[in-house]
Amino acid sequence: MNRFGLLTVAVAAVAAIVLPFLLKPFGIYLISMWVVLTIAAIGLNLTLGYAGQVSMAQGAFVGIGAYAVALLTAAGWPFFPAFVIAGLLCFAIGWLLGYPALRVQHHYLAFVTLAFNTLVFLVLRNEEWLTNGTYGIAGTERPHLFGLSTDGARAFYFFCLGMLVLLAAATWWMLRSPWGRAFVALRENPIRALSLGLDTRRYTLMAFALGSTLGGLAGGLYAPLVQFIEPNSFSLNMSFNLLLMVIVGGSGRFFGPFVGALIAVLLPEWMRIAEGYYLIIYAMLVMILMVFCPTGVLGLVEKLFKPKKPPAAAAAPTLKAEATSR
């Protein structure tokens, strides 16, 4: 990361700490939602952006995580064990969902994951004995941390922000480890990766499992944030929205989900000044953004600020160079 990037991250970090003291509860709720959805989008970015496995099921994992935490805490479990169980459950289901990816790719894989999302939605809605069906689950309690309640809007925001920092740091570390390079290799040229001795089967399953785990953990925070969950919240719309965040922010770029989630959460709110037209304007802005910067906002920023290299230096980047520059 260059000096400009570091400065931007530092300013964003200060803003993330100072903003809740300047905002009313609604503003704090919105930035809390941004934090939660960023975690889910980081997971999808791992699966899609880095490992190149198309997944339209991230919303389902957010749902599984949310229901796991809501049901377990309602049954008397403390938050943290429930939160860990939500992550582990999504890891296991994500691993299983990875198996079809060993056989099919691209839009075929997209349809497999899309069908999985619908399946999860139907289970959440129809298995009323477990999930309370269409009536949903209200009043998931917010956790206590070191004896302190996070019931207030600001306290819960900082709790979510802490989780985001931890999970983002873990993802950052992983992407710079051989695992991260293996994921990129999987995306760029799986046959060459296999010929170099990489266990592509294991890394494909791992890409799904880790991405899904982050989705589940985001769901574990979503339930106590909104304090009401119902199957419709985790239908295909949620998955499409998360996909939008990853693509708009910049797929395969570490900070892409942060920017994408910011746009997807805040832009429709800002557009509300247009009253009845706000969703139309929002949709048009997203279309314009995709037409003019298909590599997402961060791709555009890179294009604008990166110094132009002379032709000789424009040789194809090595796998390692690409993995570390993102």
Binding site: P25, T134, Y135, A138, Q227, F228, E230, N232, L279
Partner: protein, 382 residues
Amino acid sequence: MLRTGFLVSLVAAGISLASTAHAQQKTVYMPAILELSGPGAVSGTNFRDGMLMAIDEINKAGGILGHKIETPVLDTQSDAGTSRAQLQKVLDNKPYVVFGPVYSGSVLVDMLMTQKAEIPEIVGGEAAAITQKNNPYVFRTSFGQQFSMPKIANYIRDSIKAKSVALIWVNNDFGKGGRDNFTKEMKDRGIKVVADISTESGQADFSADVVKIKGANADAVFVYLNEEESARFLKEAKKQGIKAPLIGETTLLGQKVIDLAGGAADGVQGHVGLTVDAPIKAVQDFAAKFKARYNYVCDHNGIKGYTAVYFAKYVTEKVGKFDSKAFAAKAHGLTITPKEEPGILMEAMWDKNGDIDRESFLGEVVNGKQKIVKILPMLSKK
């Protein structure tokens, strides 16, 4: 130069006067959270239009206790999570009363927050659970399913004289709540439910469902779907020639469904909690005003929105000040007659849970119009 200076002074004086007048205009903040997009848009926009009409009338007549009503309308996108966020936004500005939402799922999440903030919420939701949670701040504008389903069950037993019934319902919080209450009422009356068919919100093709219903050979078919799905079902039922009477509860006999279904709605019968075709002059005058203003026929949600505002006005004037807690306390057990408050349209009573009681109707669709055949008395006056 002199003329320009004079003009500038005049404009400045005008602006100053206007802003003084604006500053002197007292307002009361009563926001609305409604379904303006997504599958609930038909219900939400009807509620909004009825509500805004009442607000304009009241504001033109001087407002409530000399305060004009200020009602921004925020869209829930028919999603409970978005509804919760929008409610948080309005709670930050300390509202006196909140109107909406109409979708029961959104009501169930919002009412927890308004209860915590001690702000009355006047909702359009009909799920039974809304008023079964001991929340003293939630008030209905129409029957809950626990009151409407016994009425429709009696109708099926006494007027249709059915021994078996096929049930088709939409699998969302509205439909599932209705289905659960309906099957319980059928069981209590010894009427057999021979087909229990769940459908999807937004479903376009009902041919397979109608085949199943025909195969069930029931004495009557009870249809509990949202507006657009009701119309699609009726078209398919007509196409496949279902002979058993099609029975509905309010929505199926609504003008929106009748318009969308074309001639396929003719012959539909059932219970109507609220309707602009009620043989009551105040309701018909309201319907005419609504049609003249918005150029479409209002459904029951429009009446909910309109009466919600007059309910808030009446209770506030009884309390004599803008006190949200006193509002909630006063409104329980209150009866409002059209003589006391013409905008309430029909005599209505709110019980200790916030449930509403008023007259309702039995109707049928004849030549593309809803026809009321019987008025059912208020439950408390039986």
